[in-house]
C-alpha cells in the first residue's frame, strides 16, 4: 500500500465520517465542514504526489499526470463546494445527504481517472453514475428533477450494459481486462478483427454517452435543465472529465487508432458534435441547456486530440505535446465551466437569457465574470479558453487534420453567436422588467468571482508557468 492510495482513503474516511455524523445528528454546517475538510485533505495528499515518480499496479496507474488530473478534479469540486452551503440553504430539502453523494461521486471519478483495468474503471464508473442518480433527483418535489433522475438512471444503465458487452468481447479477444495488455495485438484470441472492432464500438458508445457526444447527446440538455444546479455543474465537469481521461487512456494504450474504421468513426463523431452542438446552442434561450450544448461542442473539439495518435507524428516539438494540449484544454475548459456554474449559482432565479437583460448595469462584477467566461468558452485571446484552443489548433495543424479543423472553425463561429448573445443580453439597457433586487452578493461569492476573473485572465495572459508545469508532468 503506497502513498498513491492516500487520496482515495482520505475520501473514503470522509464519506464514513459524514455518514456517521449524519446518522448521529443532522447539521448542515457540520456536514459542509466535514465535506470541505475531506476535500482539502484529499487535495493536500494529491498535491504531495505531484512530481513524484509514479507506479503502475494491476488495477491503477499512478503516472505523473494522474495526480495532477485528480487534483484538478478536486479543485473543481471544491469550487462548487464553496457555493454549496449558500445554495443548499435556499433549497427546500434535506441538505446533508448531498455532501455524501458528492463525496461518493468524487471518489468514483478519482477511481476512474486512475484506473488501469476495466474492472476498476467499471467500479468507478458505476459508483459515480449511481451517486449522480441521487444527485440529479435530489429535489424530490420537483417533477422535472425526478424525471431527469429516472432518465439518467435508465440511460446510464443502457450505456453500462453496452460497455459491459464491449468489455466482454475484448476479453474474448485478449483474454485480459487490463488496459496495458490491450495493445498486444490479437494476443490470444482468434476472432476476426471486426468482432474486436464491434467491441470497441460498444465501449465507445458508452463513453460517448457519458461525454454526450453526437448522436448520444440527446439526454444532456434535459438533465442539465432538470437537475439541481450544483448537480449539473458536477455532471458537466466531474463526470465528463473522468470519462474523457479514461477514454483517452484506453484509446492510446489499446492503440485503437490502428483500426482505420474507428478513427473514421471518432472523426465523424467529433465533426458531428462540433457542428450539432453549436447549432443546438444557436438560439437556445435557457442558459443551462445552452451550457449543455456548448459542452457537446467542446468535447467534440477535444476528440480531435484523441485522434492525434492516429496520424503519423511530424517532427514537431515533443511527442508529449498532444498530452500537454489535451490537459491544457481540459483544464481550461473545466475551469471556465465551473466558473460559469458558480456564477449561475450566485443568481439562482436566472434561468434564461432574457433574465440577464441589463445585468451589467446592476451587478457589474457578476456580469463581467460571466462575460469573461463566455469569451473564454468562445476562445477569445487573453482568456484561458483561448490558450486551450491554441494548443489544440497547434497540435491539430501539426498533424494536418484539415477536416476536423474546418469543422472546428465553422463550429467556433456558430458558437460565437450564442456566447455573444449572453454578453449582449447583459449589456442591454435594463428594460425595467428585469429585477435584480433579489440578488444579494455574498462575500464569498464576490471573492470567488475575483478568483475566476484572476484565473481566466491570469492564465490566459500568462500561461507560461502553467504550460511549463504541464509539460514537466507530461514528460514525467
Amino acid at each position: 500500500m503506497s502513498l498513491h492510495y492516500l487520496p482515495a482513503i482520505v475520501l473514503i474516511i470522509t464519506v464514513l465520517l459524514s455518514l456517521t455524523s449524519l446518522s448521529l445528528k443532522r447539521h448542515h454546517g457540520i456536514a459542509y465542514l466535514i465535506c470541505g475538510g475531506g476535500l482539502l485533505l484529499t487535495m493536500l495528499s494529491l498535491f504531495m504526489q505531484i512530481g513524484k515518480t509514479g507506479t503502475t499496479s494491476e488495477l491503477f496507474v499512478f503516472d505523473a499526470i494522474t495526480p495532477f488530473l485528480s487534483l484538478i478534479l478536486l479543485i473543481v469540486v471544491s469550487m462548487i463546494w464553496v457555493q454549496l452551503y449558500q445554495w443548499l440553504e435556499a433549497l427546500d430539502e434535506r441538505k446533508e445527504e448531498y455532501y455524501l453523494l458528492l463525496l461518493l461521486a468524487t471518489l468514483g471519478s478519482l477511481i476512474m481517472v486512475a484506473s488501469n483495468h476495466f474492472t476498476s474503471f467499471f467500479l468507478g464508473l458505476e459508483l459515480m453514475s449511481l451517486s449522480f442518480v441521487g444527485l440529479v433527483a435530489y429535489s424530490g418535489r420537483e417533477f422535472k428533477g425526478q424525471e431527469a433522475g429516472v432518465k439518467y438512471l435508465i440511460l446510464s444503465a443502457v450505456a453500462s450494459a453496452l460497455m459491459l458487452m464491449g468489455m466482454a468481447i475484448l476479453y474474448l479477444q485478449y483474454g485480459t481486462l487490463s488496459f496495458n495488455d490491450l495493445s498486444m495485438q490479437g494476443a490470444s484470441g482468434t476472432l476476426p478483427s471486426w468482432v474486436t472492432v464491434t467491441g470497441i464500438i460498444f465501449i465507445l458508445g458508452g463513453m460517448f454517452f457519458k461525454l454526450s457526444l453526437v448522436p448520444c447527446h440527446l439526454w444532456v440538455a434535459d438533465l442539465f435543465e432538470g437537475a439541481p444546479l450544483a448537480t449539473s455543474a458536477l455532471l458537466a465537469t466531474l463526470s465528463k472529465l473522468a470519462a474523457f481521461v479514461v477514454l483517452w487512456r484506453i484509446f492510446s494504450l489499446g492503440e485503437w487508432h490502428t483500426h482505420a474504421v474507428i478513427v473514421d468513426i471518432v472523426a465523424a463523431v467529433a465533426i458531428a458534435s462540433m457542428l450539432v452542438g453549436n447549432f443546438l446552442g444557436l438560439l437556445q434561450n435557457n442558459l443551462l441547456r445552452l451550457l449543455a450544448y456548448s459542452s457537446i461542442a467542446h468535447f467534440g473539439y477535444l476528440l480531435i486530440i484523441l485522434l492525434l495518435a492516429a496520424s503519423p507524428t511530424t517532427a514537431f516539438l515533443t511527442s508529449t505535446f498532444s498530452t500537454e494540449a489535451v490537459v491544457f484544454y481540459l483544464v481550461a475548459y473545466l475551469f471556465t465551466l465551473v466558473g460559469v456554474f458558480s456564477v449561475l449559482m450566485q443568481m439562482p432565479q436566472i434561468k434564461t437569457q432574457q433574465d440577464l437583460t441589463g445585468l451589467f448595469w446592476h451587478k457589474p462584477t457578476l456580469a463581467i465574470t460571466l462575460a469573461l467566461l463566455m469569451l473564454s468558452l468562445a476562445g477569445i485571446p487573453l482568456t484561458i479558453g483561448f490558450m486551450g484552443k491554441f494548443y489544440l489548433v497547434m497540435t491539430a495543424v501539426n498533424h494536418q487534420m484539415w477536416w476536423l479543423l474546418s469543422a472546428l472553425v465553422i463550429g467556433s463561429v456558430i458558437g460565437l453567436f450564442y456566447y455573444l448573445r449572453v454578453i449582449m443580453m447583459m449589456i442591454k439597457a435594463p428594460d425595467g422588467e428585469s429585477d435584480f433586487s433579489g440578488l444579494t452578493m455574498t462575500t464569498n461569492g464576490q471573492l470567488l468571482n475575483y478568483l475566476i476573473i484572476f484565473l481566466v485572465i491570469g492564465f490566459g495572459t500568462f500561461p507560461a508557468a502553467f504550460s511549463q508545469l504541464i509539460e514537466t508532468l507530461s514528460r514525467g
Binding site: 464491434t198 458508445g205 440527446l218 434535459d222 474504421v261 473514421d264
Partner: protein, 624 residues
C-alpha cells in the same frame, strides 16, 4: 515697321521667381476669403487685386520677353514627391505657349473679375464667389504653367472643381446642382482616360516631365520605328485626347457645356468660354511633339474638331437662350482649334484660342450685362430693340459677334483665316469645306443673335443699367477683340507649322465672303420675320427640336449609360453578397431547428440514440 520696332523689346530683366507669384497670389487671396470674413470692400480689393497683380506680373514677363522667340523660364516650389523614377516637382515652366496662356488668363480674368464686382454686387455670397473665382484662376495658372503632367493634372482637376462649384454657385436650385454634377462627371470621365494615359506614358517614357516626355517620345517612337511603337504612341495620344475632349467639351463629351451656363454669367465668360474649356487645346498644343509622332491620333483630333464644330454650330442656330447660343458657339470655336491642332497647326490653334478668349469673353460679358439689364431674361425673343437703350452693350455685342463671325479686320477673322489656310496646307480638303460651312453657320447665328436682340421693336424696358465697372470691362475687351491681329511670335517658333502651299483663288476669297453672305442671309431672314416664328412643317419641326437639344446627345447618353447604370445599382441595392450571408444565417437557423427537433424529451428516443450509434458504427464497419 511696327514689328521691327516691337522686336527690339524693352531691355528689362525680371527675376524668374516672380513666376511663382502668378498662381500664388490668387490662391492666397482665395484662402483668405475662405477663412476670413472681411468687409465687402476688402473682399473686392483682394479678389480683383490679386488677379490684377498677377496680370501685371504677366505683363512684365510679356514686356521683358517681347520679341524673343526661344525662351524658357523655370521656377519651382520644390519637390512634390519622389519615388524611384517618379520625380514630381512643383516646377513652373514658362515658354511662348504658357506665356500666351497666362496672359489670357490673368488679363481676361482681371477684367472679368472687375466686371463681377458690378454683376455680383447684390449677391449675398459675394465673398464665396470671389473665393471660388480666385481659386479657379490659380488652378488654371497652375495648369498652364506646370512643368510636369501630374502638376498639370492638379490644375486640371482644380479648374474642374472650381467650375463645378461655380456652376452650382446658386446652390439652392436643384437644376443648377444637376448641371454642376453633369459638368463635373462628364469631364471626370475624360480625366480618367487622361490619368490612364499618364500611367501609360510613365511606363513607356519613364518620366512625367512634359519636356522630357517630348524628347523621350521622339527617341522611343521615332518616326519610322516599328508599328508597335507607333500604335503605343497613338494609344497614349488618344488617352490624352480623352482628357482634352472632356475639358474642352468636344465630341463625344460635349453636352455638359450648354448646361454649365447655369452659373453666373461672368463665370461662363471666364471659365466656360475664355479659359478652362480651352485647356484641352492647351494640353494637345503642349504635347505637340508627342502627337506628331502619331498621324492617326492627329487625324482623330482633326476629325473630332470638325464634327464638333459642325454639330455645335448647327445647334447654336436654333437656341433661344442667349447663353446657350454662346455656349454652343464656344464648343464650335474650340472645334476649330482642335481641327487646327489636328492638321498640325498648333500655333494657329493657340492664336485662335487667344482671339476667341477675347471676343468670347466680350460676348459673354455683354450678354451678362444684357441679362442684368432686362430682368434676368435669357430668351432672346423676349428682347429686341435694345440698341438705343443699351448702346455700350450693343456696341460690344456687335464687335463680339463680328469677331465670332470672322468679319474681315476683326481678330477672329485673322485667326480663323489662318486655320483655314493651314488646313489647305495639310491637304485635307474635305475638312476645309467643313470648316468653311461651319464659318458660314457661325456668321449666320451670330447675325441672328444680334439682330433679334438689338433690332426691331422693344419688348421689354431695361430695368437696370450696367454698372460703371461693367462698362469699363466691356470697353477694354473690345480693343483686343478687334485688334489682336498678330500671332505671338514665340508660338510660331515653338510650334512650326507645315510649309505653306499657297492658296487657290477660291480658297483665298471664299472664306472672306462667306461670313458676309451669311450675315446678309440672316438679316434677310430676320426682316422676313422668320426667326422665332412657328415652324409649319413637322419635319422641320423635328429637325429644329433635334438641333435644339444639341443633336439629342443628352437623350442618348441618358438611355445608354445613365439608366442602365442606375438600374444596375438599384437591383443590387440590397447587396447581393450580403444576401448570401443572410441566407447563411437562415441556413443556420434552419439547422438549429432541425437538430433541436431531436430533443423531444422522450426517454425511448434517447436510449434509441445510443443503439443508433452502435448500429450505424457497426454497419459502417461491415460495409467497409
Amino acid at each position: 515697321m511696327l514689328t521691327n520696332f516691337l522686336s527690339y523689346g524693352v531691355d528689362m530683366q525680371i527675376p524668374d521667381s516672380l513666376l511663382m507669384l502668378i498662381p500664388l497670389l490668387p490662391f492666397v487671396s482665395s484662402l483668405i476669403l475662405i477663412f476670413v470674413n472681411p468687409p465687402k470692400k476688402i473682399v473686392t480689393l483682394l479678389g480683383v487685386g490679386s488677379v490684377g497683380c498677377a496680370a501685371l506680373i504677366a505683363l512684365l514677363f510679356n514686356i521683358s520677353l517681347w520679341g524673343q522667340t526661344d525662351y524658357v523660364i523655370k521656377a519651382g516650389f520644390g519637390n512634390w514627391m519622389t519615388i524611384d523614377k517618379l520625380v514630381i516637382n512643383f516646377d513652373f515652366y514658362l515658354d511662348a505657349l504658357s506665356l500666351v496662356m497666362i496672359s489670357i488668363i490673368t488679363g481676361v480674368g482681371f477684367f472679368i473679375h472687375l466686371y463681377s464686382t458690378g454683376f455680383m454686387d447684390e449677391d449675398t455670397d459675394y465673398r464665396r464667389y470671389f473665393a471660388y473665382l480666385n481659386m479657379f484662376v490659380s488652378a488654371m495658372l497652375v495648369l498652364v504653367l506646370a512643368d510636369n503632367m501630374l502638376l498639370l493634372y492638379l490644375g486640371w482637376e482644380g479648374v474642374g472643381l472650381c467650375s463645378y462649384l461655380l456652376i452650382g454657385f446658386w446652390y439652392k436650385n436643384r437644376d443648377n446642382n444637376m448641371a454642376a454634377n453633369k459638368a463635373f462627371l462628364m469631364t471626370r470621365i475624360g480625366d480618367t482616360g487622361m490619368a490612364i494615359g499618364l500611367f501609360l506614358l510613365f511606363y513607356q517614357l519613364g518620366t512625367l516631365n512634359i519636356q522630357d516626355m517630348q524628347t523621350q517620345a521622339v527617341a522611343v517612337w521615332a518616326p519610322g520605328s516599328d508599328l508597335q511603337g507607333n500604335s503605343m504612341a497613338t494609344l497614349c495620344c488618344l488617352l490624352l485626347l480623352a482628357g482634352a475632349v472632356g475639358k474642352s467639351a468636344q465630341l463625344p463629351l460635349q453636352n455638359w457645356l450648354p448646361d454649365a451656363m447655369a452659373g453666373p454669367t461672368p463665370v461662363s465668360a471666364l471659365i466656360h468660354a475664355a479659359t478652362m474649356v480651352t485647356a484641352g487645346v492647351y494640353l494637345i498644343a503642349r504635347n505637340t511633339q508627342l502627337f506628331q509622332l502619331s498621324p492617326d491620333a492627329m487625324f482623330v483630333v482633326a476629325l473630332v474638331g470638325t464634327c464638333t464644330l459642325l454639330l455645335a454650330a448647327t445647334a447654336a442656330m436654333v437656341q433661344n437662350d442667349v447663353k446657350r447660343i454662346l455656349a454652343y458657339s464656344t464648343i464650335s470655336q474650340i472645334g476649330y482649334m482642335f481641327l487646327a491642332l489636328g492638321v498640325g497647326a498648333g500655333s494657329v490653334a493657340v492664336f485662335h484660342l487667344m482671339t476667341h478668349a477675347f471676343f468670347k469673353a466680350l460676348l459673354f460679358l455683354s450678354a451678362g450685362a444684357l441679362i442684368y439689364s432686362v430682368h434676368h431674361e435669357h430668351n432672346i425673343f423676349k428682347m429686341g430693340g435694345l440698341l438705343k437703350k443699351l448702346p455700350v452693350v450693343a456696341a460690344s455685342f456687335a464687335v463680339g459677334c463680328a469677331a465670332l463671325a470672322s468679319l474681315p479686320f476683326t481678330s477672329g477673322f485673322f485667326s480663323k483665316e489662318s486655320i483655314l489656310e493651314k488646313i489647305v496646307d495639310s491637304g485635307h480638303t474635305e475638312l476645309w469645306w467643313a470648316a468653311v460651312i461651319g464659318a458660314f453657320i457661325t456668321a449666320f447665328y451670330s447675325g441672328r443673335l444680334f439682330f433679334v436682340v438689338f433690332l426691331g421693336k422693344m419688348q421689354q424696358e431695361p430695368n437696370h443699367t450696367p454698372t460703371k465697372t461693367m462698362h469699363i470691362a466691356l470697353l477694354v475687351l473690345i480693343v483686343p477683340s478687334i485688334f489682336a491681329w498678330m500671332q505671338p511670335q514665340g508660338l510660331i517658333a515653338l510650334m512650326p507649322g507645315l510649309p505653306s502651299k499657297g492658296l487657290s483663288d477660291l480658297q483665298h476669297w471664299l472664306p472672306i465672303f462667306t461670313p458676309i453672305a451669311a450675315l446678309m442671309l440672316a438679316f434677310g431672314l430676320y426682316r422676313a420675320n422668320f426667326f422665332g416664328s412657328e415652324l409649319k412643317s413637322p419635319a422641320l419641326q423635328s429637325i429644329h427640336q433635334l438641333l435644339k437639344s444639341g443633336w439629342g446627345f443628352d437623350f442618348i447618353y441618358h438611355h445608354l449609360f445613365v439608366l442602365p447604370f442606375k438600374w444596375l445599382c438599384h437591383i443590387n441595392r440590397n447587396d447581393i453578397i450580403d444576401l448570401f450571408y443572410r441566407r447563411l444565417e437562415d441556413t443556420a437557423r434552419l439547422m438549429h431547428g432541425f437538430v433541436t427537433g431531436f430533443q423531444n424529451g422522450r426517454l425511448r428516443s434517447y436510449s434509441a440514440s445510443l443503439v443508433l450509434f452502435c448500429v450505424l458504427a457497426i454497419s459502417w464497419v461491415v460495409l467497409k
